[in-house]
Amino acid sequence: MSLLQIKNISKSFDGLKALHNLSFNVNDGEIVGVIGPNGAGKSTLFNAIMNHINKDSGDIYFDGINITKKPTHQIAGMGIVRTFQDSQPLPQISVQENLDLAFKYQTDISLVSVFGRHKFLQEEQQVHFTKIKELLHEVGLGSKLNVQAQDLSYGQGKLLEMLKVIASDARLILLDEPFSGLFPEMIKLVTKLIYDLSASGKTILLVEHNMQLIEEICDRVIVMDAGQKIADGDFKTVTKQQNVIDSYLGK
């Protein structure tokens, strides 16, 4: 049974068809690439899944549950996390705080627990802090623990976004161009992180322009153009299809 089912969702912004009868499935544990020329509606797709924008028609199911109309924070609560296109971590708080926000607290973070169940919160936070140190050391950001996120470089910011995805321990991960603007050795690092995620059983939907990476990482590829799905299959067969080539070369 596939983890994510998109059933002909459409969305148009006063005339412009951002998404048009789009349907596809993503199975548990798969890494699916989403490619297509600029303006094909890739980011709009992510916004639609997370219900940042309401859809004109169609339904989305996650783990069998209809999440079309659910508020964003509930969708995220069910175990989906997404990164924004060239999003940077929250600027005026520290790296540690950024990561702590990504972790899922068992004790509900509310005024009641701040005063009533302070001990539980404190313990969980300590556990998170140790994990955070490990994660940061792994990618060489160990010294940046208490630095304000705005003081990180662009690349380091992107890395931190990836670490937040790992920390969230979500089942479905929507990555929106995680490699854009990175140096080669940063790209290797992010690729390794993606493999680790997949190895630990996560399902990944990856929007990316860099074709070598798509070929290397993804099990399957979906090609979008003008809000429609024009191809769905493994990389080799899909890139041979005439309509895919035309969409890239422009009709």
């Binding site: 997370m50 940042h52 508020p71 964003t72 924070h73 509930q74 995220a76 609560g77 996390v81 997404r82 924004f84 999003s87 929250l90 600027p91 005026q92 708080i93 705080e97 702590d100 926000l101 990504a102 899922k104 607290y105 973070i109 509310s110 005024l111 627990s113 701040v114 005063f115 302070h118 919160l121 969980e124 936070q125 937040k164 969230s168």
Partner: protein, 288 residues
């Protein structure tokens, strides 16, 4: 020196209001200008309960604070639907509407003639007519406020509201019910503003709508901006400076023909200069 004790009392009351405003504006980024209205509602609530019903000080103050919380809960529904500049404007609109209710609902608030001879509080038998006891009461409540807000902002809850200040959309993506947090922050901030208002009313023993019009809201915002966004200690320093400096200016012996206007000009300059040199204020860590 009663004069210094009185200044300390007004500074303590202003600090409670400033710390609670910083919690709303500095930590959570809700640019609300209607804080003085909740300060006013707390003052009127406590004053009317003290003068019109037989309630003694402590229940009257608590009830006054409760009423402020309820009004804030209702007001937060429309106000929090907006952000940044439009939120600022709607909170100004709300402040002016509350002020004209105080002015025109004569049957309840006695209108522009205000509420007179509010009795000085009696707690467990000690009558607080003596200023020093009153100062102790204010300082105890101030310390309590600091502890509460310090605990909240240092806990994971504090990190969440700071995250909301930075970017609400991202926080929703990590599963945080942003509007629930914003409402609880707004209401808690208003409750402490109501507490400060109740203390002010029973100290000065006479209140009228004039003291809760737009300007006090702006002064509270200046206290927080001067002191520093997102720093509790900073907002206390801001509150003390803004309460004490104009009183010290009385000693500066400025010829009073233009002392009055120059006082206001100093405020204007402080505001402008802060926005230029240190938007995050003296001790703040967050730039509005």
């Amino acid at each position: 020196m009663d004069f210094i004790v009185q200044l300390a009392i007004y500074s303590a009351i202003a600090s409670i209001a400033a710390v609670s405003l910083n919690y709303v504006v500095g930590f959570t980024g809700i640019m609300s200008i209607s804080h003085a209205s909740f300060y006013g509602i707390g003052a009127y609530g406590t004053a009317l309960l003290l003068t019109k019903t037989g309630l003694s000080f402590v229940p009257a103050l608590l009830l006054g604070v409760l009423i402020t919380g309820l009004v804030a809960a209702f007001a937060s529904v429309p106000i929090l639907r907006l952000r940044e500049d439009s939120l600022m404007l709607v909170s100004v609109g709300f402040a002016l509407i509350i002020h004209s209710l105080m002015l025109n609902w004569q049957s309840l608030t006695n209108g522009p003639r205000g509420v007179k001879s509010i009795p000085r509080p009696e707690i467990f038998g000690i009558s607080l007519t003596d200023k020093n006891f009153y100062l102790v009461l204010c300082l105890v409540l101030l310390v309590l406020t600091i502890i509460i807000f310090y605990k909240i902002t240092k806990s994971p809850y504090g990190t969440v509201i700071k995250g909301i200040r930075e970017n609400e959309e991202v926080m929703k993506n990590y599963g945080y019910n942003v509007s629930k947090y914003k409402h609880s922050v707004f209401v808690l901030g208003a409750i402490f503003a109501g507490l400060a208002g109740g203390l002010f009313a029973s100290y000065i023993q006479y209140i009228s709508p004039e003291s809760f019009i737009l300007l006090p809201s702006v002064f509270m915002l200046i206290m927080v901006i001067l002191g520093g966004m997102g720093s509790i200690g900073g907002s206390i320093i801001g509150a003390i400076l803004i309460t004490v400096i104009p009183e010290l200016m009385r000693f500066a012996g400025l010829p009073s023909s233009f002392a009055a206007e120059s006082n206001q000009i100093v405020y204007g300059i402080i505001l402008f200069a802060l926005m230029y040199w240190r938007p995050q204020g003296l001790f703040g860590k967050y730039k509005i």
